[in-house]
């Protein structure tokens, strides 16, 4: 970049730069292979010289998210704070040509009935009665899908100072304090059909702090809250790498910093359990360790910013297998997709992006990140691998790296490069909700779930389509003006 940043903007520039780093890592990896490789005969040996007589593998098992200790309902959560449900909202009956509930078959000429923040009924218009007093909203030839869920958002606040890097790890920070409902980016996010976001700190340090799951609209942040913590943000490579001399600047150092903090939390959890079982004293209250212990209770997951094969493997090994934590890989870009089968086996899902492709310099091919994670296949690595499949793939924008309202574009690019269209819709909705444990509230259009609806004028994944209305917690919080469309 050839521009000059004035001295007064250094701190701002540093913050911007710290977000830019993982994406500038391309420059590092782009050393041209000028030197020829070891004496393989040029052009003569085929790439995969394995005999094809191997028995065909059975189809991949279905992806099952791993978090065995999660409490069975919201009330049983000891640490996490859940937001309100069933807030007052008018009774609506939304009629549309096409309704995609996601968790069940598409409904043509259907209706969705909502009131007081929840879905009361859904079905064919000819079969479902509209209760008296409910406002009929005729959406014509629209397609209604659930509100979209974003798993890696940095714009739920007008300020952009999500990286405090004083300590090597910063589990004491929380984004809950920053959320606002009426600034520019969140408004446009609504116009992009996004109803729930996981708003997390940046990746300036290995452990940036606790993120918040929030709706993109509410009368105030408390009403918009879905759950705090949404997740603990961990960044394992790229951005947190600091100059030499700083603590934790090597991969080993970064892993150790994360491990130490998490083990402290684990001890706190064990001590608390012992206390609850009556076998030990009450541990001294520590609000931060309390939050970390919640991870071990599987009340909420880790959001791990991780990419390239080596570091995604590190995430799998350390966080999921060694420490036994409910983990969601976010980004997973470059060649991390080679681990799709290992992640499938461990129940570790991936919300891929914002880089939609990896340019593979061995073959000179463009590899779709989401497609490869989801489909697996012969990725030029060991034997062909299973993919995460329909239920293990998610997508994200890392807003504002990609603007929040362009989450559907991310999905579209994933589909372009080979992700099945249906799986892309699931990635935007139910999968995202399930990965972070809020699928009992959002992610699909089912009776009893939150009334979060996106009313689109066509295929939501097609960039040419737009949102006509967005309903969050039963309130129509966005209506598009064709002369001045917000998005």
């Amino acid at each position: 970049m050839m521009f000059r940043i004035p001295a007064t903007r250094i701190s701002a520039a540093l913050v911007a730069a710290s977000l830019l780093l993982p994406l500038a890592a391309t420059a590092q990896e782009s050393k041209p292979a000028a030197k020829p490789k070891a004496p393989a005969a040029a052009e003569q040996k085929p790439e995969a010289a394995k005999p094809k007589q191997e028995p065909k593998r059975p189809p991949a098992p279905q992806f099952k998210l791993w978090h065995p200790r999660t409490p069975k309902d919201e009330a049983s959560h000891k640490v996490a704070k859940w937001g309100p449900r069933g807030l007052p909202s008018p009774g609506y009956a939304f009629f549309a040509q096409k309704i995609l509930p996601i968790s069940s078959a598409p409904i043509f000429d259907g209706v969705v009935i909502t009131k007081n923040g929840k879905i009361e009924a859904i079905g064919k218009a000819s079969e479902v009665a509209v209760p008296a007093g409910y406002e009929r909203v005729d959406c014509g030839d629209s397609t209604i899908i659930p509100g979209i869920v974003e798993l890696h958002c940095h714009i739920a606040s007008p300020s952009f100072d999500l990286n405090d890097t004083v300590h090597p790890t910063n589990p004491e920070f929380r984004t809950l304090d920053l959320i606002s409902m009426e600034h520019d980016q969140i408004k446009v996010a609504r116009a992009g059909g996004v109803s729930t976001v996981l708003y997390i700190p940046g990746s300036g340090s290995n452990m940036g702090g606790f993120g918040t799951l929030t709706k993109t609209w509410g009368r105030n942040p408390d009403e918009a809250l879905v759950r705090f913590p949404g997740s603990l943000k961990i960044a394992q490579a790229g951005n947190p790498e600091r100059g030499s001399g700083d603590l934790g600047s090597s991969m080993m150092g970064m892993s150790e910093g994360i491990r130490m903090t998490l083990l402290d939390g684990k001890k706190y959890w064990e001590d608390t359990l012992a206390f609850e079982a009556g076998t030990g004293p009450k541990p001294k209250y520590d609000p931060t360790l309390e939050l970390v212990s919640g991870l071990f209770r599987h009340e909420y997951p880790l959001s791990v910013h991780t990419q390239i094969y080596q570091v995604v493997l590190q995430t799998l090994q350390e966080l999921r297998l060694e420490l036994g934590l409910w983990t969601v890989v976010v980004h997973g870009t470059f060649d991390g997709y080679r681990l799709s089968e290992d992640l499938l086996a461990a129940g570790l899902p991936v919300a891929g992006g914002p880089r939609a492709y990896h340019f593979d310099r061995n073959t000179g091919s463009i590899q779709g990140v989401l497609a490869n994670y989801a489909n697996g296949g012969d990725l030029g690595w060991r034997d062909p691998v299973y993919g995460l499949g329909r239920d293990g793939i998610g997508v994200n924008t890392d807003s504002p790296v990609v603007a929040q309202e362009q989450l559907t574009l991310q999905a579209a690019m994933g589909v372009r490069l080979g992700l099945p269209h249906e799986w892309a819709l699931r990635a935007l909705t139910i999968n995202a909700a399930r990965f972070v444990g809020i699928d009992h509230r959002v992610g699909s259009l089912e009776v009893g779930k939150d009334a979060d609806l996106g009313i689109w004028n066509g295929d939501p994944i097609d960039p040419r389509s737009h949102v006509r209305k967005l309903v969050v917690n039963g309130t129509i919080c966005y209506t598009r003006d064709p002369n001045r469309p917000t998005w």
């Binding site: 041209p32 292979a33 000028a34 005969a41 040029a42 052009e43 310099r361 061995n362 073959t363």
Partner: protein
């Protein structure tokens, strides 16, 4: 030049003559290598034969060659003999080594090329007539070191784009300028660069050269008759205005401006008259540009060229600046390994039209942005183009050439082509192929003796022979 310097030179020359004389005395006794495997390069490999060397030349070679009486016999069982290496691309000796090594500096921060500067190996210029040998320091250890690792004929290529000068062929054992220089104008160096300045220079210079060739081939003009000037007898009008001293020196046109206010009419005529001179002298000929004359020689086939064209893109650009009609004997040299502008196998059709040989780096390339290996040398060879390899500019590089060739051979290049590429082909490019580059009767005994085969990983270079004398460790032919 001072007399003292002349005397020194004379003394040196005599000393050299005497030393050579001493060498000569020793090498009149023939040497015979027996039971040797001989890569003649000009023909098939002789599996077990005899090689006889006398007076610095190859006297006999063959399976059944006879060992002359009194010969010093060297039993070469298990050894392989091949011609000495001919380096057709080298700047060894051109610059004193710097802290960065013997490589051209390219500018930009930290010695790395500035990102936005077009690649160049120096300034472009037309100095075609300059001899590169004039710019070097004669006694440099590098020559001897190169000889020790097998370079028996060494080129010296001028640096720069455009027409940096005349390259030389060196005898690496030489310690004086005379001894060192076998040919101080062996070839014309031409450097192609992909930028406007370089292309314009090439275009304009070749155009001038072509004109010069036409000038040479023009039939001589009939002599001019003095009567031809009479019709312009209006001159006397101009004379009164002309000053006396100026007539013979300046053409009348110079006087014209002074006449302007008085007589506008003569103004038009005066410049056309040949000078108001008493005698009908022929116009002084414009002095010929020696640089252009060198290139005119080239176009007439009297010289040969080594043309540095590093990529297919550069070659296509060359063709837009220099038409294919400009035919001259040339070897195309690729001196930088750049795959993003296309390896030369992409323009093989044009190379065939040029009927030239091509000097390549001894490497496999990769298809850009992949790890897919390609073999430009094999591709060119398969298309019928003679391929040579640059053997290197430092002893380390030269020692490594055989390993590079091994890889190329394992990847499909015939072994004999590989050996030819570092001997006969570069010799042809330098114009010394009648004397060296192969093992044939009458040629110089420039030999490499290997224990084992040169293209085997266990082969070791044991002896280097230059003009029939074994090269000792300090590089001097003894």
């Amino acid at each position: 030049m001072s007399t003292a310097k002349n005397n020194n030179l004379l003394a040196l020359t005599v000393a050299a003559a005497l030393t050579c004389g001493a060498i000569q005395a020793q090498s009149t006794r023939p040497t015979a290598f027996t039971n040797a495997r001989i890569h003649t390069v000009s023909g098939k490999t002789i599996e077990r034969g005899t090689l006889v060397v006398r007076s610095g030349k190859i006297e006999a070679v063959g399976k059944d060659a006879v060992v002359p009486a009194g010969a010093k016999v060297i039993d070469a069982t298990g050894k392989t003999i091949m011609p000495g290496l001919v380096s057709a691309w080298s700047r060894a000796g051109l610059r004193a080594p710097t802290s960065r090594g013997n490589t051209p500096t390219r500018g930009g921060r930290r010695g790395r090329p500035s990102r936005f500067r077009p690649r160049s190996s120096g300034r472009t210029s037309n100095s075609a007539a300059t001899k590169v040998i004039d710019g070097i320091y004669i006694r440099q250890p590098i020559f001897g070191k190169l000889l020790e690792v097998g370079v028996t004929s060494l080129a010296l290529n001028p640096q720069g784009g455009g027409f940096p000068g005349l390259g030389a062929v060196l005898n690496p054992a030489g310690k004086t300028r005379e001894a060192l220089t076998l040919n101080d104008e062996a070839f014309v160096q031409v450097g192609m660069q992909r930028n406007s300045g370089a292309k314009k220079l090439l275009k304009d210079t070749f155009a001038k050269a072509k004109k010069a060739v036409e000038e040479r081939e023009k039939p001589p003009e009939p002599p001019k008759k003095p009567e031809a000037k009479k019709p312009e007898a209006k001159k006397p009008e101009a004379k009164p205005a002309a000053k006396p001293g100026e007539k013979p020196a300046k053409p009348a046109g110079k006087d014209a401006p002074k006449q302007d206010p008085k007589k506008p009419a003569p103004k038009k005529e005066a410049p056309k008259k040949p000078a108001a001179k008493p005698a009908a002298k022929p116009k002084p000929k414009k002095p010929k540009d020696p640089n252009v004359e060198v290139l005119a020689d080239l176009l007439q086939g009297k010289r040969r060229a080594i043309v540095e064209i590093n990529s297919a893109a550069d070659l296509l650009h060359w063709r837009t600046a220099v038409s294919d009609d400009m035919k001259f004997p040339r070897m195309v040299a690729v001196t930088r390994h750049d795959t993003t502008s296309g390896t030369l196998d992409k323009v093989v059709d044009h190379l065939k039209k040029w009927e030239c040989s091509v000097l390549l780096p001894p490497l496999l390339s990769t298809q850009p942005r992949t790890s897919h290996l390609i073999h430009p040398a094999k591709k060119l060879h398969d298309a019928g183009i003679e391929v040579g390899f640059a053997v290197g500019e430092s002893p380390g590089q030269v020692r490594a050439i055989f390993f590079s060739l091994m890889e190329l051979v394992r990847s499909g290049l015939p072994a004999d082509v590989a050996l030819k590429a570092i001997t006969q082909v570069p010799a042809k490019a330098l114009g010394i192929d009648k004397r060296t580059g192969t093992i044939e009767v009458g040629k110089h005994a420039d030999l490499l003796v290997f224990d084992g085969d040169p293209l085997s990983p266990t082969g070791t270079l044991e002896q280097v022979w230059l003009r029939g004398s074994r090269v000792e460790k300090d590089g001097a032919a003894n």
